[in-house]
């Protein structure tokens, strides 16, 4: 589904990613862990097409298509979803209008008919129940005045509405209390199936108690330096990232 080859990227002239190789197949859950500043969020943003991040080398294909040919909205419509680490507040744009536009843009892209107002509201209710989001939140402007937990839940809610084939969750666990973490994780697990894939970007092993990864990768100084099964996460939790640094001979 996703093939990243020898990816290099810069932010404000500084090299952040230095040769990432990663393949994600349908049905898989990958966790990307690593210390602060290792390039985790950069990778997530490059995948989503944030132009603040400049790709200098390498290739990314998504479902066989070159991702660099696609604008962020086309990537989204191709099935890629980024759950933001810091969801943006957009005063004046109502949740309902925002979601309706987004859902219908996806449908138009797939040559499907736009949803009627009634069908849309039905879908909205269904997905709200699924991810247990407070129904008042959809009456407000996008993320405006939402608490940290509400913002993250809202990301998962949007994911449920758009049903992506590849979801990239950028530190979705940060700033969540245990209950919110459980709700968010349940949402992700419920949306998981054999046709889609998830990339979890996280600092902590905690999230992986709820969403069990098939692969864990350690990102360090812009490269994936270690990949293994879920047991790697426990090892990291126990020994810390210094252990990896030592292994690398630093």
């Amino acid at each position: 589904m996703l093939v990243i080859k020898d990816l290099y990227a810069k932010v404000e002239g500084k090299d952040i990613l230095r040769g990432i190789n990663l393949t994600v197949n349908a049905g898989e859950v990958h966790a990307i862990m690593g210390p602060n500043g290792s390039g985790k969020s950069t990778l997530a943003n490059v995948l989503a097409g944030n132009t603040n991040f400049e790709v200098t080398h390498g290739s990314i294909t998504f479902n066989g298509k070159d991702i660099f040919d696609m604008s962020p909205d086309v990537r989204a419509k191709e099935g890629l979803f980024l759950s933001f680490q810091y969801p943006v507040e957009i005063p004046g744009v109502s949740m309902v209008n925002f979601l309706k536009t987004a859902v219908n843009e996806h449908r138009k892209y797939r040559n499907e008919k736009e949803l009627s107002a009634g069908d849309f509201l039905k879908l909205l209710r269904e997905k709200k129940a699924m991810v247990q989001i407070d129904s008042q939140l959809t009456n407000r402007s996008v993320n405006e005045g939402f608490s940290g937990g509400e913002k993250k839940k809202n990301e998962i809610f949007q994911m449920a509405m758009l049903e992506p084939t590849l979801a990239i969750l950028d530190e979705t666990d940060s700033g969540l209390d245990i209950d919110a973490l459980r709700i968010v994780s349940n949402g992700v697990n419920m949306l998981k199936n054999k046709n889609n894939a998830t990339i979890l970007v996280t600092h902590y092993q905690r999230l992986l108690d709820y969403i069990v990864p098939d692969f864990v990768h350690v990102l360090y100084e812009g490269r994936i330096v270690k990949s293994a099964g879920k047991e790697l996460a426990f090892e990291l939790e126990e020994k810390g990232y210094d252990w990896i640094k030592k292994e690398l001979g630093e």
């Binding site: 604008s71 909205d73 989204a76 957009i90 004046g92 744009v93 987004a102 843009e105 996806h106 758009l162």
Partner: protein, 457 residues
């Protein structure tokens, strides 16, 4: 030096025009109306055409506009022999208004003859009211719009012959909005003067809409001025929709005095027009009066939109709130000057002001200037101004959800504008304006076909 000479040129030309047509201008009007032209003439001679050197007009230089015009003035109503009320017939059932038609500044008797108002309400030609309701008109005429204070007021008073007079009796609540449509039509370039006087009695309630409408592609300069007296506990909403083609200059003044407990909402929505200057003065002249003042201007090409507000807190315990927003595209320019004057006696004043602007290009320019003069210690005042661009983070967020860049930009611009539109209290009107603004932002023609209501279709 050459510029100074030309400036003198325009003032001289207009003065001579006035002298040459004196009989036509003053004919049929009571002497006290014509007496008011004398101080106006002196004030005009002294102030001339406002330009960069006029402090209150430093963002809107009108000297070039007046140097280059030699437009026709009509000192008698143009006779079109058409009942415009038929052309403008409003058949939007949910949005019914009392239609008042003004053509080239003249109250159009023929077109207005069929409009029926609630009992006690007077709507008529100001010219006629100067004779028939002399006691009322004379008491208020020229009281709020002081010729010595403003060159456009001086010019308006100098040439004023007609406009609309509205009187709303005490305790009357008018349900349907009064919609004043200001029609400009002429075979040649035209200069229009319009003068309105509106008196709202104690505890009365009314909603007014001012719609500008240009039927023809000629150049127009429209100098209109409205004086508005709000009685105790009256509740008045004034919405103005400026939607003229870009060869028109709209120079307008709205002067309002509020008595105790009165509540004012005013919103100026500017969609199209070449040079637009809106002067707004509100005198909070009775305790516990409140004024909620908004403006939204969407400009592109070489449009220029300048809002100048002057809020005077005269009595204690009054509240004023100003919110003005501009979205400027291409090489359009804008200005906002917000003056708040709290007089010594006006303790417990609350006066707020905000001006937010979005520039869509590098060529667009916005000048914004708060002017707070506070002569009392016990007040709450604030002001804030921003000039910025579309928020890139928000744009990326919308795009990351599958919304293309253009649509995402429109959503953000509309969201920015909507804060002002939310203040429009007439729901149907708000919907109409929402649609107009949406169309305008999309670059679709939002010009009304036959009147401002036609846009709903």
């Amino acid at each position: 030096m050459a510029e100074v000479l030309e400036k003198i040129g325009a003032v001289r030309r207009i003065s001579e025009l006035y002298a040459a047509n004196l009989a036509g201008i003053t004919g049929g009007l009571p002497s006290w109306v014509n007496q008011a032209r004398k101080p106006a003439f002196l004030a005009f001679q002294r102030m001339g055409i406002p330009g960069f050197r006029t402090e209150n007009y430093k963002y809107t230089d009108l000297t070039r506009l007046f140097e280059n015009e030699n437009f026709r003035r009509s000192f008698t109503p143009d006779d079109f022999e058409v009942d415009l009320s038929e052309v403008f017939s409003c058949d939007v059932p949910e949005f019914d208004t009392h239609l008042i038609l003004v053509v080239n500044g003249w109250y159009d008797d023929a077109s207005n003859k069929n409009t029926i108002y609630p009992e006690g309400v007077i709507v008529k030609s100001l010219r006629k009211a100067m004779v028939e309701n002399a006691d009322l008109v004379q008491k208020y005429y020229g009281q709020l719009a002081v010729v010595q204070d403003d060159p456009l007021t001086a010019m308006n008073t100098l040439f004023a012959q007609d406009g609309v007079f509205i009187y709303i009796p005490d305790n009357l609540h008018i349900e349907k909005p009064l919609q004043l449509i200001n029609v400009l039509r002429s075979e040649d370039d035209l200069y229009v003067t319009q003068r309105n006087l509106i008196i709202a009695g104690k505890n009365s309630q009314a909603k007014l809409m001012f719609c500008d409408h240009t039927l023809m592609p000629q150049q127009f300069i429209n100098n209109n001025l409205t004086e508005f007296e709000m009685g105790e506990d009256s509740v008045i909403d004034i919405y103005s929709i400026q939607n003229q083609h870009n060869k028109t200059a709209s120079l307008s003044g709205l002067y309002i005095r509020q008595e105790r407990g009165s509540q004012l909402v005013t919103s100026a929505i500017t969609l199209h027009g070449g040079i637009i200057r809106n002067n707004l003065k509100v005198l909070l002249d009775g305790e516990h009066a409140s004024a909620n003042i908004c403006g939204l201007a969407l400009s592109d090409k070489n449009q220029h939109v300048d809002n100048y507000t002057n809020i005077e807190h005269i009595k204690p315990n009054c509240h004023s709130n100003q919110l003005y927003k501009n979205i400027l595209d291409d090489s359009s320019t804008g200005g906002f000057t917000g003056r708040i004057h709290v007089l010594p006696y006006a303790s417990k004043t609350a006066a707020y002001q905000r001006n937010n602007n979005v520039l869509l290009t590098n060529a667009a320019r916005m000048n914004t200037k708060p002017q707070l003069v506070i002569d009392n210690d016990d007040v709450k005042c604030s002001h804030g101004a921003t000039v910025g661009r579309i928020n890139d983070e928000a744009l990326f967020y919308l795009q990351a959800r599958g919304i293309n860049e253009q649509e995402a930009r429109l959503m953000l611009m509309f969201a920015f504008a909507h804060e002002v539109l939310a203040e429009v209290k007439i729901e149907k009107l708000r919907d109409v304006i929402d649609k107009l603004v949406n169309k305008r932002l999309r670059g679709e023609v939002s010009k009304c076909h036959s009147c401002a209501l036609d846009c709903i279709r």
